[in-house]
């Protein structure tokens, strides 16, 4: 994909859309009691998901994590689906079975992650191996945070992907904190990218708040993968501008770090850059903001009125053939209406 004006405008759109949806979720709906359970946002890290995912083709695949909402949107998951998902409605992508961004759809090339982060690392390797087996030219982008790189599965997955030359781009969102644990308590290396060498793959440090740099680094890694050159590891350095989750008061982060990184806000940087290059005007920016507000308002209004799933659906979807007795037997004890 070419990094032309349309691509840049699309990137700006998706980053702003992500920011608006996440703000609505974290600062409004959650505090209004309309979303229950865990809420995790990627404020300040939007460039990583958007700059990389924007360039995928239809049959490519992503294994995103919880701070990559922009990637979900680019793959075709709509704001209404996202709000319905967060509010546990039947119209959410997981039909109420799962929370927040724990969702996926193989038809749109999105694998749903599990909370055991780093589990998707070998899964991505397997998808890449499948592309190879089928002689397809496709790639899979696998996203994870700095925290996940400490797990065994992360290392097993990178190792397997590299020895099998699987067409995967491993993209690390290093936002410096794993919950309350800063990087220096997680690992002895300064850059996660050096771990690439352990698996004979390129390990590149990227300014995660520069959408264009993210785009270019990913572009190179994708090219390598499609050519059969195997996986790459991109370490996108950024900063987590919120708590780990919406109920985290983040007292463990020195406040001056927030001020410092606020200045490097990825959306602001891209917008400023586009304005300076006259690819957009102030008026365009205003119109874009209004458009996004309208889209999000509409999506919230619809999703808020979407129905909850029926309690009996608790027992559905465990197996392909629901003639399996085990879950249904339980239903007969309590739900007289269950067939």
């Amino acid at each position: 994909m070419e990094l032309n004006q349309q691509t840049l405008l699309d990137m700006l759109y998706y980053m702003k859309l992500t920011r608006e949806i996440e703000t609505r979720i974290e600062r409004k709906l959650y505090r209004q009691g309309k979303i229950v359970g865990g809420v995790y946002v990627g404020r300040g890290q939007e460039a990583i998901a958007v700059g990389s995912c924007i360039q995928l083709e239809k049959d490519d695949c992503i294994c995103p994590s919880h701070r990559d909402m922009g990637a979900f949107l680019i793959r075709g998951i709509t704001p209404r689906e996202i709000f319905a998902q967060y509010m546990g409605r039947k119209t959410g992508v997981s039909k109420g079975k799962e929370a927040n961004l724990h969702m996926g759809d193989m038809r749109r090339g999105v694998v749903a992650f599990v909370s055991m982060l780093a589990d998707t690392i070998p899964v991505a390797a397997g998808i890449g191996m499948t592309y190879k087996m089928r002689k397809q030219n496709n790639v899979v982008l696998c996203y994870f945070g700095d925290g996940a790189t400490s797990r065994g599965d992360w290392h097993e997955g990178l190792n397997l992907a590299s020895v099998q030359k699987a067409p995967v781009v491993y993209i690390c969102n290093n936002n410096y904190y794993a919950y309350s644990t800063p990087l220096e308590k997680q690992m002895a290396v300064k850059d996660i990218a050096v771990r690439g060498a352990a698996y004979a793959m390129p390990g590149i440090v990227v300014d995660g708040n520069d959408a264009i740099e993210v785009f270019k680094a990913t572009q190179e890694a994708i090219r390598l993968a499609r050519q059969g050159g195997g996986p790459s590891l991109l370490e996108c350095k950024t900063f987590r501008m919120t708590g780990h989750s919406a109920h985290d008061d983040v007292k463990y982060v020195p406040q001056e770090l927030f001020a410092e990184w606020e200045k490097k806000d990825p959306i602001l940087r891209l917008e400023t850059s586009l304005l300076q290059q006259k690819m957009v005007s102030e008026d365009d920016v205003k119109k874009l903001a209004a458009r996004i507000t309208r889209e999000v308002d509409e999506a919230v209004a619809i999703a808020e009125n979407d129905p909850f799933p029926d309690p009996a659906e608790t027992l559905e979807g465990v197996y392909a053939d629901q003639n399996v007795e085990a879950p249904l037997a339980f239903a007969k004890l309590f739900f007289s209406q269950v067939r």
Binding site: S94, V114, D119, A124, M133, E156, G157, L160
Partner: protein
């Protein structure tokens, strides 16, 4: 067809499926060039190539994770755990990823995880385990454990064709000890159906795996004394064939639950609860369990012999129950 061993039957089943369906492939440690630690996959690399018989690093978690990725894409991977004991290294991928995809986001994971379980070969704690219940305890999985050559072939084929993740425990003690002539043609054994290996009127012995053969031995001895055992082979541990189990209990009114797995948290406890709940008024005697004790599997032969259930145990308990 000439008679084949239990191990050969599994190889045949996998081979036939790989011929039949190009999306089926095998991955695991030493499965390719070496033909598998037990030679189960011998010849497959030569026939199907590196792409479909993948030698992996020692990474059970990544082996299963990669298989999940491939299955999500519509392939039908068979992930081998060299010894079923090592399946614990992939516990997270199996129970949290593979088992829950369909429920959470409607995505099928048509994969098989297979490995040799069970003791009696002086393997010690890490080459003799029966880890099945960890997976029976996980909704979304299917768990099978064949006891005969016929069932081994039929069930591996059914497992490969199943749309959900199947954990297939083959009993290593039976690998070369059982030999049977198998019918020609394409046939499977359905998952979720138990099998009456021996009909009887006096005491039902409900069991699976290698223990089926001990039960049949005991039955032959007891028949001389006019005690007729009915041996019910579960074949599938999840989902259980409750109908056939309860039918047998209602017929004989006396039950022995037998397994090689340790006692606490073993299948016998689950079966006993089902029987007590749903067939209480058909019981003419207490539900009896014959299991291994709650210890790791010991190595030294006299210790392992003490550990494993014996035919004499079955005979003794059956006599007691028959006289109750």
């Amino acid at each position: 067809m000439a008679a084949v061993t239990y191990l050969e039957a599994i190889r045949q089943g996998i081979w036939e499926e790989m011929e039949r369906d190009s999306s089926v492939f095998v991955l695991g440690e030493d499965v390719g060039i070496y033909g598998g630690a037990f030679k189960l996959t011998e010849g497959m690399l030569e026939r199907f190539g590196e792409d479909r018989v993948v030698d992996t690093p020692i990474s059970e978690s990544a082996i299963v994770g990669a298989a999940i990725g491939a299955a999500l894409m519509g392939m039908r991977p068979i992930a081998e755990m060299q010894f079923a004991d090592f399946i614990s290294c992939a516990f997270d991928q199996i129970t949290n990823f593979a088992a829950k995809c369909r429920y959470r986001w409607g995505a099928g994971v048509p994969m098989v995880i297979r490995g040799p379980s069970g003791g009696g070969i002086h393997g010690g704690p890490y080459h003799s385990q029966n880890p099945e219940m960890h997976y029976v305890h996980t909704p979304g999985l299917k768990v099978v454990a064949p006891s005969t050559v016929y069932d081994a072939k039929g069930l591996i084929k059914a497992a490969i064709r199943d749309e959900d993740p199947v954990v297939y425990f083959e009993h290593k003690f039976l690998y070369r000890r059982l030999k049977e002539e198998l019918p020609d043609g394409d046939w499977t054994v359905p998952i979720g159906k138990a099998d009456i290996k021996r009909a009887g009127s006096d005491v039902s012995v409900i069991t699976y795996g290698a223990m089926v053969h001990l039960a049949l031995e005991a039955a032959a001895t007891l028949a001389n004394d006019g005690i007729e055992l009915e041996v019910v082979d579960l074949r599938t541990l999840l989902p259980l064939d409750k109908e056939r189990i309860l039918d047998s209990v209602k017929k004989t009114n006396k039950v022995i639950l037998l397994h090689e797995d340790v006692r606490t948290g073993g299948m016998a406890g689950e079966l006993a609860a089902i029987i007590a709940e749903e067939a209480f008024e058909y019981l003419d005697g207490p539900i009896m369990r014959i299991t291994a004790p709650d210890t790791p599997v010991p190595y030294s032969p006299p210790l392992e012999e003490f550990f494993l259930p014996k035919t004499s145990d079955i005979i003794r308990v059956a006599r007691q129950l028959a006289a109750y």
